[in-house]
């Protein structure tokens, strides 16, 4: 009897042990499985929003905050931006041209920039792949696909300009791998021409798909931004007709800032401004604090810029602006003796409110489109058209400006000067130096490069110097079975 009792207890206890069938099926609480994401256009839009976020997301290091970290690196590698002192050292390697060959470290820029753009390409490809079977209207699908193609073209445009010399004259040099689907096997480099063909194909398709689609926020890769990139690409390819045409189309809907708007703290840090065509909206809750663009350029944040690496305009360029030019007030007076805000320090790009990190990033402004149009028309010998475009822009900055007397080479040179002034600090230096084939010429002397400011080490470089292009990251060469060590840049 007692044994029955004992065995009864045992059987009872064992019966408790049996598990529910789904006991071993667990899932993450903060993740959505792929099939759910791919089910509707609404959920794919959410992924697209995530992709837009990666344009300004902070990734592990204080010099990795998306597109603006590339922009800052490209300006520092140019001739018009001076670093005050060594400070905490971030980005000084760009100024001193030591990071471009550093392809080994996963923390170095070749690796970072390469991954940043390819990640956007991958995300765009994933969304495109998911669209076909997702439920939603054709209109929504066209809008999402158009944005994805635009983003893909954006990424390839920057990649090819970072990892190879300019287009013209280098068409048959190695390009960068092209992916049209998310995949785990690596593709070969191909040629520069392949990459530009891809970019134009994507932008052309995006233009068609996005026609008639409007967006409430300038965060989106809209029709105008796609056209703006088409103009940028044409300018690099020296396709002056398309450059002029697309630049004119792209700025439709944008107006130039007034002088008051131009000197507001939010001029370049609020995408709500009239000139902004494309940017990232960054509220305080999404700001990346010390690892943000403004930390590195704006002394009012108390970030790295305030800790020694103030970004200054060269005296040479500063002096080329007449006193009536509102843009001159974007820089601290040469007479400044402030240690935190020294002479020539940039105060163009600032957070709207000191003490808060809420500050948007601007990636494309209408004024650039005037400059592209002016340059393209000038090169097509349409001086009148070029003058009109130039005059429209510059007079908004300097009421007493007149381009009327300029023509030919003088006009072109004036347009290029205005480009350096207008777009100072916005990420254009490197691509311009390469496409214009001028080489690097950093002026020295008081207020320019060198002591007492940070020593740039490199003062001049001839056109097409290998240091103008990043080496491919070692991780790519090591793990891409379609590449060999011979695929490395010089």
């Amino acid at each position: 009897m007692k044994n029955f009792l004992k065995i009864g207890i045992v059987v009872f206890a064992i019966s408790f042990a049996s598990c529910k069938k789904d006991y071993l099926d667990t899932k993450p609480s903060n993740g959505i499985i792929e099939t759910t994401i791919y089910s509707t256009t609404a959920s794919l839009s959410s992924v697209l929003n995530g992709t837009y976020k990666s344009l300004f997301a902070f990734v592990s290091r204080h010099d990795r905050f998306g597109q603006k970290s590339v922009d800052l690196a490209c300006d520092l590698a140019g001739a018009d931006m001076v670093v005050h002192t060594a400070g905490y050292g971030w980005f000084n390697s760009n100024y001193q041209y030591t990071n471009w060959i550093n392809s080994d470290a996963t923390t170095a820029q070749p690796d970072q920039f390469w991954y940043y753009y390819y990640d956007i390409i991958k995300q765009a490809n994933q969304i495109i792949a998911g669209l076909d079977n997702a439920t939603g209207t054709i209109f929504e699908k066209e809008s999402i696909k158009g944005q994805c193609l635009g983003l893909r073209a954006y990424a390839y445009y920057h990649l090819i300009n970072l990892f190879q010399q300019t287009y013209k004259g280098n068409e048959n040099k190695p390009g960068v791998p092209i992916y049209l689907t998310a995949q785990i096997t690596g593709n070969p480099r191909g040629t520069v021409q392949n990459v530009y063909d891809r970019i134009i194909a994507d932008l052309t398709a995006a233009e068609t798909l996005l026609t008639g689609k409007t967006f409430t926020s300038k965060v989106a890769m809209s029709l105008q931004v796609v056209q703006g990139y088409r103009a940028r690409v044409a300018l690099v390819m020296e396709d002056w007709t398309n450059a002029a045409t697309y630049a004119a189309k792209a700025r439709i809907g944008s107006t130039l800032m007034t002088t008051t708007q131009y000197t507001a703290t939010s001029a370049f840090s609020s995408i709500a401004g009239p000139e902004c065509m494309w940017g990232s909206l960054i509220p305080a809750s999404e700001a990346t604090i010390y690892a943000s663009f403004y930390s590195h350029v704006d002394v009012s944040t108390g970030g790295y810029a305030a800790l020694g690496t103030q970004k200054k305009i060269t005296k040479a360029l500063y002096d080329l602006m007449p006193a009536t030019d509102i843009r001159k007030s974007c820089f601290t007076l040469p007479t400044s003796t402030s240690t935190s805000n020294p002479a020539y320090n940039q105060i163009k790009m600032r957070v709207p409110t000191a003490g808060s990190w809420a500050a948007d990033y601007t990636y494309m402004r209408a004024s650039e489109m005037y400059l592209i149009e002016a340059e393209a028309l000038s090169r097509k010998a349409d001086d009148a058209g070029a003058r009109t475009a130039l005059q429209t822009l510059v007079v908004a900055r300097n009421a007493s400006y007149s381009a009327a007397s300029l023509s030919g080479a003088a006009l072109l040179s004036e347009i290029l000067l205005q480009r350096r002034i207008e777009l100072w600090g916005e990420g254009f230096s490197m691509i311009d130096i390469k496409r214009l084939k001028t080489g690097l010429n950093r002026l020295t002397g008081a207020g320019n490069h060198g002591s007492p400011s940070l020593d740039p080490i490199v003062y001049t470089m001839a056109d097409a110097d290998p240091r103008f292009i990043l080496r491919l990251p070692k991780r790519e060469l090591d793990n891409n079975t379609s590449m060999t060590p011979a695929d490395q840049n010089p």
Binding site: C19, Y23, I33, E34, G50, S340, W357, S453, M483, T484
Partner: protein
Amino acid sequence: MRKIMMLSLCFLLTISQLWAQNRTIKGKVLNEKGEALAGVTVTVKGSTTGTATGTDGTFTLSVPPTAKTLVVSSLNYVAQDVNVVGKTSISVLLVSTASELEGVVVQVPYGTVKKKAFTGAENTIGAATLSRQQVTNVTKAIDGLIPGVQVTNGGGAPGSGADIRIRGIGSINASSSPLYVLNGFPYDGSISSISPDDIESLTVLKDAAASALYGSRAANGVIMITTKKGARGRSTVSATINQGYETRGIPEYDRVGPQAYYELFWEGIRNGFLTGGDSYASAGTKASAQLTDASHLVYNAYNVPGTSLVDATTGKLNPNASLLWTDNWADALFQVAQRTNANINFAGGSDKSDYFLSVGYLNEQGTAKYSYYKRYNFRLNVNAAATSWLNTGLNIDGAMSRNQNVPNGGTATTNPFYYSRQMGPIYPVYQYGPTGNTFIDSVGDKKLDWGVPSQMGTRPYAGNSNLVGSLALDDRHSDIINANANTFAEVKFLNDFSFKTSFGINIWDNNSTTYQNNQFADAQSVRGRSTKSNGRQISLTLNEVLSWKRNFGKHGLAALAGHENYKYKYNSLSLTRTGFQYPGQTELDNATLTESTGGSYEDNQTLESYFSNVNYNFDQKYLVSGSVRTDGSSRFSPGARWGTFYSVGLGYRVSQEKFMKNVKWVNDLKLRASYGEQGNENIGLYYQYANYFYANGTGNFVAYTRPANADLAWEKNKATDFGVDAVLFNNRLQVTIDYFNKVSDNLLFDVPLALSTAFPTAYQNVGSMRNYGWEFAFGYNAVRKKDFDWRVDLNFSTYKNEITKLPPAQQKTGIISGTKKLMEGKSIYDFWLREFAGVDAATGEAMYYRDVLGTGGNPTGQRVLTNTIANASYYYVGGSALPKISGGITNSFRYRNFDLSVLATFAYGGKFYDGNYAGIMHSGSYGIAWQTDILNRWQKPGDVTNVPKLNTSTLATQDGTSSRFLFDASYFNIKNISLGYSLSTKDAQKLHLSGLKFTATIDNAWLFTAKSGMDPQRSFAGTSDATYPIYRIISAGVNVKL
């Protein structure tokens, strides 16, 4: 020993006398060292009458008049028959069998087994050994005690633990840490929360035969922690208090002072101008003029103008200059810390039940100011026989701790260890005026210098910071609650069967605050920043085990079968806000702005397992054991989640053979062999079998960076072990030797992919690695006298790690991982570095080797020198970070009532990359300190040295990671010296105590390394980090027993 026994026997016989009624016998049981033995069973021979000794070793037993002999027995001791005829009081000395295998019981999965019948490889450390070291986390007490176990020092942060590797490095991308099991339950909680005072034993299961019953989690070995329980005798009370003082256990590097610092920088700046094309004279003049300006060193620590501080031609400091300040950051940031540990326990029981209750308190300050670890812990363990066939028990414990910490590890300027090391000697803690005058702040203290323009200028290293100020105002702490509740019920039925069901819960809750103050430094511009986060982990284990045991003549058979469920849940919640109006407010309600969006997530893991184990022996001579376990894990896809693991163990007790009876010098000899396959599923990340898009905290979803692999399954670890256990020469010498070969196969490999796919890596089951080597342990009782004992325990091991297979795409190129490269035929920690070729005596530049590349970019085998580090090629230089031999030696002495033990640990061979040293051997980074080796720099053509010239303009092309900073990792560490004095029982009784012991210890007494300041036990990978250095602690304690 035998003499003593004979003597006591004679003594007893001479006073024998007959009694006619039940009488009471009192007694005390001691071990060879004169220590009281608790829990010793005392029974009347031939009857069931019996009792057990209390913690003071005494017993009282009422015996029938016919009783002539008492049997005194205890696990791990040789049982003794004691004649009690005519005696009312006896004293018994029991001889340990630790040397004899006889009776020793080891903790194994789901039970215990006699060591002599065990076919696996294990080592056990008992409470007596553990108590010699003043550790907060028991993992720190293991180093040097067990062969085949490698331990990091774990650093010196209050409350920190050490990392452990058993028999080599088991995995590349999955975890290589062992499975911890607390009182029979796989343990996810905090080991720091278990007071070492409560630990009875720590058993390390090393081979497959020992650990295979834990299946999918046992590949890296198992550490079983068993807490104390009450003895079924009279109740006892034991109280211990220990007070210690801590200082740095690893010295800081020697660094140059202010004068040398200025002179050296002058030289570096001058050399920079020479590189730029200046003449010597002009370069010297410029260097003198610019030395302390805003782009260079900024600060002038002397009373002469900065422009005339260093002579433009000689480079020597102005003889008229005298220092304005001599602040020392280390003095301001570090302290001699105190550590107090107190514990009281109550233990005892009747024949049907036992209890153990303990309460502990620990306050461990850190050697860095503003860091401490405080712990309050309690434990209650009750076991009862409810009926003759039903046993049950409950073991609950809880610890509440606060970990107040400072940032450590990494190069953030909030890390006081890095900060104080890197800071140049000319940068003061306090603000000074041009005459060396200080400033007083609003509360009357000396004003600190924050390295900002409004004070003394932008300090080139770590401007806008002063850790003396900010650490005092910041707050970084975690409140951790860790609790366990384990219970079981065991039913015995049908004679040979028993069924036991056990249920265990662990709850770990960490509520932490990271507050950066609102007045100074990083968070000043946003008026303070506070992050509150909570992590909570709950794990549950439920198992049912049916056991059966029977002897058939000379055949002994035991078997068990069981089922287990394991469930793990982790919840995380965190929020950051800024904008604090008043100082010292850290709670988010006081903040005005939300800086980051709050976040939360939950992770779940489940395991379901079936297991069985069979043990057979023939005449205690031939031993066979086998285990099998099937696990289903939620970490893998439904099609791949079930895996089966097994082991087979064989034992042959040669000494039981008849032909060995005459071999007197062999007391015991056993040969062991085992083979088994275990698993490793610990890749930390879940859900690798499906593609998930993850929320980024703002309502958007972002694509996965690692593609799913639905076929992903366990790593398999195939372990072979051959071992010998021997006791020789009249139990004087104990020897254990093992050979092991562990092959980790189907590695859960995070395979690198082409970066342009934007999937940097993907998990696949590819690759294999093996660890093979020898372990030796010797115990020698050098002297065993009445008043003096001396025992030596030596253990060491040697093993090799070899990667035998890599993913196909990487077989040719290998996989670079930091300072290492994984390659077939190499070890996981073989250094892959640029090779430093010394200093060019003509130019003073650091030279590195570079491969000459042929067609297709492949090296031709020829090498040239380069002065540009980025152009240098990488090589396998220096070998592996793994030591050739590592081990420990313990010398234990007893003289009368004194005991002394000295533990030394050592490693020979292996290399260490000292990045901390490299950081202060730069060729001229403004503001950064210099190690004194910099004085040997190259200065002029013809100088032969291995320290390159200083040149502030060539930092980027000259400085960098290379074999220049690779050192021999060998060390010898006097890890513990422990001295004790126990009052004799007689004297203790005069004080109405049953025992009184005083102890004095030094932990981490002396460390000898290739370079002073180096910390070779920082990591298995042989790399440094600006971490919290281990502390040396000198302590004194007293233990009172009632």
